[in-house]
Amino acid sequence: MAEPLLELRNLRKSYGALVVTDDVNISVQPGELHAIIGPNGAGKTTLIHQISGMLPSNSGQILFIGEDISQLSMPQRVERGLARSFQITSILPGFSALENVALAVQARSGSSFRFFGNASRENDLNGLAMECLGEVGLAARARIPAGLLSHGEKRQLELAVGLATAPKLLLLDEPLAGTGHDESQRVVETLRRLKSRLTIVLIEHDMEAVFSLADRVSVLVYGRVIATDTPERVRANPDVRAAYLGEEELV
């Protein structure tokens, strides 16, 4: 196997006595779509917070393209090519959809310490932003204030903003959460397309989507990884079935 793009080594996070992620070891290969599944409260979002730099870890290491990024801030990790979306939609509600994305483009194109010139009229920023919006199917809604978009559209906007940072690795925290059937179909199609050119870590409760998209699946239960394997083998794994006992989704 090639050198992993992302490698988590013995990662751990606790809140007082509550251990939320415990000795997590996961390696994500370049080009793969690696899904992380697990019951509610398993620590999936916490893990994404740790990887993206929003939360410090208690111990363990995060290696990204061979570099230990455990001590870097969130913006520094973004600079290295690590982007994320949020489970609870996190956008700039007063900005148009286009400006939400254009800001992410702006972050990686030249200095933002420019005090003259109208940023919202910069064509190269807007052009790239429109491409990202087109990618997720939001081009027609570019001028709408993000706060007025439907819930599903906001989820798509999250994805477009992540893409606009030109990441090497995209961390997606439940991109399908709360979307309707048609919208979730569209997001799954988008992810299928992105898969070919991006490495993706996908957290998702929609098992149908997970098993149709993922190259490998890691199962997190009570903060521990109990299995990492291909979708078929994970589905057949007795430990995993036991963890999901009573939940029909996996069957």
């Binding site: 929003m54 996190s90 700039l92 509600p93 900005f95 933002s112 310490f113 003259f116 010139g117």
Partner: protein
């Protein structure tokens, strides 16, 4: 995890052309005022009042830059008025009477103070930020009261207004008025440019959702600090002008009440529109000036003794009036002006 505030925020500053009418009318009024003042019979009084309005307009606009566009509630902005004023006064008392020396030093001092206090204050959020900016403001206030050679508590009178390249142009109230208008216009143009620029967009984005901004690769702190320094410099300039206008400086320039008034002016005019802050400053100062007379006239139906009493205690009406305006005119005066257009 971030909760997004679904509050309608100030519109992106690509203001519609219809709204541009407000700043045009505002600046035209300032430009026309001296001509009209000549007919009023109280020329000196009108000029000096409007000059004060413009100076506080600059200070309030400086605050709006960080408060309206960055959601940074600085409760110590009067410190910069004091810094600018004392720079002029202290330098003048040592024989450096030229504005070409005073202003650069005053602005540099304001920038340095803003940089140091901002770098510390901006590590805190919300109410802690308010308290720490207040504390820095008070620190400077007490420093000023202890400057015995420069008047201490009582302040000191300036021998004259600043010179400009050796000539005493500012002695003339009209010239001084035009210079203040020029400063106001310059500060306004600069601020307008800043808020729509790349820099301003990051500042506005941070106001809405700082975590999101970090997640796309920005370090909000740097932008907030730069905005704080720019704002401090602008308020420092207002301080220089204020000292010249009053031909006097004292610690009263930088009381915490003064900082509160600046916040009030911005909120009164409407957060996040820049010219709103100027209008807020005008409304505040004019109301403060004329409320006693307005009260006296409006209470014609009362006994003469009661009327005099009311006019004398106008502040008892002023406070509640301001509260009512803020409560019932959400978005301040600019909000009222905007409403008819947007249904």
């Amino acid at each position: 995890m971030t909760e997004i505030a679904e509050t309608p925020s100030a519109p992106a500053p690509s203001l519609t052309t219809r709204l541009e009418i407000v700043p045009v009318v505002l600046f035209t009024a300032f430009a026309a005022a001296p001509l009209l003042a000549a007919y009023s019979g109280a020329e000196g009084y009108v000029l000096s009042l409007l000059t004060r309005v413009m100076i506080f307009g600059i200070a309030a606009m400086a605050l709006d830059l960080i408060l309206g566009y960055g959601a940074l509630v600085s409760f110590g902005h009067a410190a910069f008025l004091g810094l600018g004023g004392y720079a002029v006064g202290i330098l003048a008392s040592h024989g450096f009477e030229d504005a070409l020396v005073q202003i650069p030093i005053a602005l540099a001092a304001s920038a340095a103070f803003a940089f140091v206090t901002g770098a510390i204050s901006l590590r805190t959020k919300g109410v802690y930020f308010i308290m720490i900016t207040l504390a820095f403001g008070q620190m400077l206030y007490f420093l000023a009261t202890s400057l015995a050679p420069y008047g201490g508590d009582d302040g000191m009178t300036l021998a004259s207004r600043s010179l400009i390249a050796g000539s005493a142009w500012l002695k003339n109230d009209f010239t001084f008025y035009w210079i203040c208008l020029l400063c106001l216009l310059g500060a306004y143009a600069l601020s307008r440019s800043i808020v729509v620029s790349r820099f301003g967009r990051v500042l506005r984005g941070t106001r809405e959702n700082a975590v999101r901004m970090e997640a796309i690769g920005f370090r909000p702190f740097r932008f907030q600090l730069a905005a704080y320094v720019i704002s401090g410099i602008m308020a420092g300039l207002a301080g220089c002008l204020l000292a010249n206008q009053a031909e006097f400086i004292s610690p009263s320039f930088m009381t915490w009440q003064r900082s509160g008034e600046l916040i009030f002016m911005v909120v009164l005019g409407g957060l996040g529109s820049l010219h709103g802050a100027i209008i807020g400053a005008a409304a505040f100062l004019l109301l403060e000036e004329f409320l006693p007379e307005i009260l006296h006239m409006a209470s014609f139906f009362l006994a003469e003794e009661t009327r005099a009493h009311l006019a004398e205690n106008w502040k008892m009406v002023f406070g509640p009036l301001l509260i009512l305006i803020v409560l019932f005119a959400r978005g301040g005066i600019m909000g009222l002006l905007r409403r008819p257009h947007h249904g």
